[in-house]
């Protein structure tokens, strides 16, 4: 009979779940946020993600090779660090940013301290903070199609209201992984799978909410609290960054303390700090406290706990399965964010949209000091009752029309705000400006969410500049590059739907001017 069987000390069996399975689950949970990020921000965002992940994996492989250590990229933790870093970058950073950040995260923050399990701060956040400090300008530029604008957090800091719905869905002007809905789906999936500790994520969110309610100056105003919860990486931090095993405490009580520290510091930094990246820093500070917490906050064994010798009641938490709780949370939060907040912020948003519209009036009618209402126009609008204006222009509505007046009160031009519902992705609103003689001054978009790189190019000078100082009625659309006649406009190549909608809106505006306003006053 065979001899020399393998010997080992009990137990001789192991569960299936390994380190790489866990990393795989976390990567999977980030998939929704990644997909939404790429859809919203375009292929450039995908390039950033691939570069970051690739650099992270390659850095670890090269480091291990040079240091003659066993290869560890198979455990998936390097790829995860790269993905987390990429999702916390602006979709408009130059491509060297994810490369440098991922290399720093893996080599300096992780490998130099002994690799997986030995790092003392979250590598992805270390990479991000390195980039924030070293390349502040590139990191804080959030540009969509070359037009840079403020992030929702900057808007909030400036005291302006923000569109919580778009923050929730991830369509706002923020980092690649900013879709709160997608992050929550992933985070709650991890929680259901017992991969992340609920104590951490919920104490981070709870601590932050309470702090903001107490010191944010707006009390329990849900509009204010939700806007803060949905912005600036709070959800990403709570579910994916703070819950990193290696840099968070092991005991439940320790995790609670750690989560509260993050929530409170995050709130403090956000209210009083100079940067929008309050959560990156607050999590890193809490990471540094982790060894201290683990040294002193250690649970006693069951036999030494005060309640140990009481007949314990059956576990209550098992009554409602986690997935049910998670789905309920997602549904409720999504419902509140999408409906409640929408109606709460509707007025403010409308107010802001009006202001934005006014600003665009000035662009297309620069000589005017004030914009006066036109009786004829108002009467005509009232008759229309918000209906479609002239079916030949498609689904076009005239929103409002004003007469531009200079300081002396004489007419210097006209503006008409037109909305077309025939855009490729929803509605397009533009302001059409004419001078006193009825020559088109130009157009300006107040609402445009077409496909990046395609329809969005309507906002580029090459297209909208064609409407500048043209005494034409109506405009005609030709194929790109074929406009010869004075009434022809080059279409945006590959975006005929958008081009048509714009031309129709402009012509409808011109029609309205010609038939209603011209000659008035």
């Amino acid at each position: 009979m065979n001899t020399g069987y393998n010997l080992s000390s009990a137990p001789h069996d192991r569960t299936r779940l390994t380190t790489s399975h866990i990393m795989g689950l976390v990567l999977l949970s980030l998939l929704p946020a990644t997909v939404v990020g790429v859809i919203v921000n375009g292929w450039y965002a995908l390039a950033i993600i691939l570069l970051s992940v690739g650099t992270a994996v390659l850095s670890e492989w090269v480091f291990n090779l040079i240091c003659k250590k066993p290869a560890t990229i198979g455990d998936g933790s390097a790829a995860l660090t790269g993905l987390l870093l990429a999702l916390s970058l602006s979709p408009s950073v130059p491509l060297y940013i994810p490369v440098l950040g991922a290399a720093f995260a893996i080599i300096v923050a992780k490998c130099c301290f002994g690799g997986l399990g030995k790092n003392f701060i979250n590598p992805a956040l270390a990479g991000r903070c390195f980039l924030l400090i070293s390349f502040g300008k590139a990191m804080s530029t959030f540009a969509v199609d070359g037009v840079s604008s403020a992030t929702p957090l900057a808007e909030m800091a400036a005291g302006r209201a923000v569109n919580v719905t778009s923050m929730f869905l991830g369509t706002s002007n923020a980092v690649i992984g900013s879709s709160v809905l997608a992050l929550m789906v992933g985070g709650l999936f991890l929680w259901c799978m017992d991969v992340i500790h609920g104590q951490i994520c919920f104490s981070v969110l709870g601590g932050f909410t309470v702090f903001m309610a107490l010191f944010g100056g707006q009390g329990l105003d849900p509009k204010f609290l939700l806007a803060h919860l949905c912005g600036g990486g709070v959800v990403m931090g709570a579910f994916f960054m703070a819950t990193d095993y290696v840099t968070s405490p092991v005991s439940k009580l320790g995790q609670l303390v750690y989560g509260l520290v993050i929530g409170v510091l995050g709130g403090l930094f956000r209210l009083k700090g100079s940067t929008a990246d309050s959560f990156s820093y607050s999590i890193i500070v809490a990471n540094l406290l982790t060894p201290f917490i683990d040294t002193y906050v250690v649970p006693k064994p069951f036999a030494y706990r005060k309640t140990a010798n009481k007949q314990a009641v059956p576990k209550k938490s098992g009554l409602i399965p986690k997935p049910v709780i998670a789905l309920t949370v997602i549904t409720v939060v999504a419902g509140v964010a999408l409906s409640g907040v929408f109606s709460m912020t509707k007025e403010t948003i409308e107010q802001q949209e009006l202001e934005a519209a006014r600003a665009s009036f000035r662009v297309v009618c620069p000589e005017a000091e004030t914009f006066a209402e036109s009786e004829e126009a108002n009467r005509a609008l009232e008759e229309l009752g918000g209906g479609v204006y002239g079916s030949i222009y498609g689904r076009v509505k005239i929103n409002e029309a004003y007469i531009g007046k200079d300081a002396a009160g004489s007419t210097v031009g006209y503006v008409v705000s037109v909305t077309s519902s025939d855009g490729f992705d929803g509605t397009i609103t533009l302001a059409l400006g004419l001078n006193a003689e009825g020559t088109v001054n130009g157009i300006s978009f107040t609402e445009l969410h077409e496909t990046a790189g395609m329809g969005m190019r309507a906002n580029e000078e090459g297209f909208k500049g064609q409407f500048r100082i043209r005494d034409v009625y109506p405009f005609k659309l030709t194929k790109a590059g074929e406009a010869d006649d004075p009434d022809e406009i080059d279409a945006i190549s590959g975006a005929s739907v958008t081009s048509n909608a714009v031309i129709n809106a402009v012509n409808a505006g011109l029609d309205f001017y010609q038939s209603v306003m011209k000659g008035g006053n």
């Binding site: 001899t3 069987y5 010997l7 080992s8 390994t18 866990i22 250690v298």
Partner: protein
């Protein structure tokens, strides 16, 4: 009363290999080897000499003191030698080797039932002691010592352990299905020693047939209830059962009797019934031969001293090459390098694996992630990840005082669950040994 404990893991059961295989007596032909130490306590002293004739059920070695147990021959034949042989511990230990004549001539009529009505408590315990019964759950603690707690009237629960939470093993399942009335009789005998106790038969709910059989047998026994338990490892651990049934967690420095509990395996209670009513000493017990490498896995009643190799061979040998052989199951079992060792009283199974999960695990081992799964499953409420860290750094002070490392019951749940494949339990065994050695040194220095 609940039906489980806190923590625990769900290793793959593999019980389907043998669960429907009824117990059958296996009569070996080869020489039989009886180690003098098959129990916790002092080794027994041989009372036979080389060339002495022996019969089945004849005492061949005598307990040396109270915490020790007699050894009985399970075959008839002649004493071939008293020498060192390799045992399941892997060590060379003193053994009595008997040349088996194959006749199995009994020393007395073990089929004649006596009435136990008139027996006093002490007489019952005496019969158990005379029979050389040890705990058949695996530890092998002499049963007569357990049956004599300091305050028998303060024992609230006699826990009859039929949980059988160890993967692969099903012999207790079959024992309960086939011998339920006998086990209940054994339980009633022990209850006579414990006036204030009620008996709870704890069986994991993956054994519905055994639960039904035991419930049926317990009908009309007012002091005995059958409690189905959650199927979870280590449900059959003494402390898990006591927590589930009596609701008590107690420090490792205390015994079950200190919290009013007494836990005995179903196999032990069956042996007690045989010893008290039939005067049959312990020389057979139930046993599962299992594992993917065994050609014909099944349940047996084996005679002590039978060679593992002979049992495997006689049952049909091996299907594939064995990579790992475990006496017991994969969670608590002892690995053996060769099958050339005798089955001891407390060995309840042999698991033969074609693949070694440990070997595979070592290939995907990483550093500790601090994921906390180990503390989530620890049935003692410890924090294995911090304990391992302290032990590896040599900080035994923190290990013992702050982390209560000595409370570890070495069930192996943390090692089983660890995604980084850290050898946690193994580290704790080592740390405990070091602390105990240091205590001994200090104790010796004071004298």
């Amino acid at each position: 009363m609940k039906n489980t404990f806190r923590g625990g893991v769900h290793p793959a059961g593999h019980k389907e290999l043998t669960r429907e295989s009824p117990l059958r007596l296996f009569d070996p032909k080869g020489e039989m080897v009886f180690p003098l130490q098959q129990h916790i306590g002092k080794p027994a002293k041989p009372i036979v000499k080389k060339n002495d004739p022996v019969l089945v059920g004849q005492r061949i070695a005598e307990a040396d003191g109270f915490v020790s147990a007699h050894v009985y021959s399970s075959c008839s034949g002649t004493v071939k030698a008293i020498e060192k042989r390799r045992t399941v511990t892997g060590l060379m230990q003193d053994c009595i080797v008997i040349d088996n004549d194959g006749a199995f001539t009994p020393a007395a009529d073990f089929t004649r039932r006596e009435s136990a009505e008139a027996l006093t408590g002490d007489e019952i315990i005496q019969r158990v002691q005379d029979a050389g019964i040890v705990g058949l759950g695996g530890a092998g603690f002499p049963t007569h010592v357990k049956l004599k707690p300091k305050h028998p009237d303060q024992i609230r629960y006699l826990i009859v352990n039929g949980a059988e939470c160890e993967p692969y093993l099903t012999c207790n399942d079959q024992l309960m299905r086939q011998y339920a009335p006998e086990i209940i009789e054994g339980t009633e005998l022990v209850l006579r020693l414990l006036p204030g106790a009620e008996a709870v038969v704890a069986i994991e709910n993956n054994k519905p047939e055994a639960i039904a059989a035991m419930k049926k047998a317990a009908e009309g026994h007012a002091r005995i209830t059958v409690l189905p338990m959650v199927t979870k490892y280590p449900q059959g651990g003494e402390r898990s059962l006591i927590y589930a049934i009596a609701g008590v967690n107690f420090p490792i420095t205390q015994l079950p009797a200190d919290v009013g509990c007494l836990v005995d395996n179903v196999g032990t209670l069956y042996a007690i019934q045989r010893a008290v009513l039939y005067r049959e000493p312990l020389f057979t017990h139930c046993f599962t031969l299992t594992g993917e490498a065994a050609a014909n896995p099944g349940n047996f009643i084996v005679r002590d001293g039978t060679s593992f190799a002979e049992l495997v061979e006689a049952s049909g040998g091996l299907k594939v090459n064995v990579r790992k052989a475990m006496v017991g199951g994969p969670m608590m079992g002892l690995t053996i390098g060769s099958l050339d060792a005798p089955i001891q009283k407390q060995n309840n199974g042999l698991t033969l694996l074609a693949e070694d999960p440990v070997e595979k695990a070592e290939k995907v081992a990483t550093s500790c992630l601090h994921c906390g799964r180990c503390s989530a499953v620890c049935p003692a409420g410890l924090v294995p990840q911090l304990m391992a860290e302290a032990a590896e750094l040599g900080n035994l002070e923190r290990y013992e005082k702050k982390l209560y490392g000595l409370e570890c019951i070495q069930c192996g749940s943390c090692t089983y669950i660890c995604p980084a494949r850290r050898p946690l339990t193994q580290t704790f065994k080592q740390a405990k040994a070091e602390i105990m050695a240091a205590r001994k040194r200090e104790g010796g220095g004071q004298k």
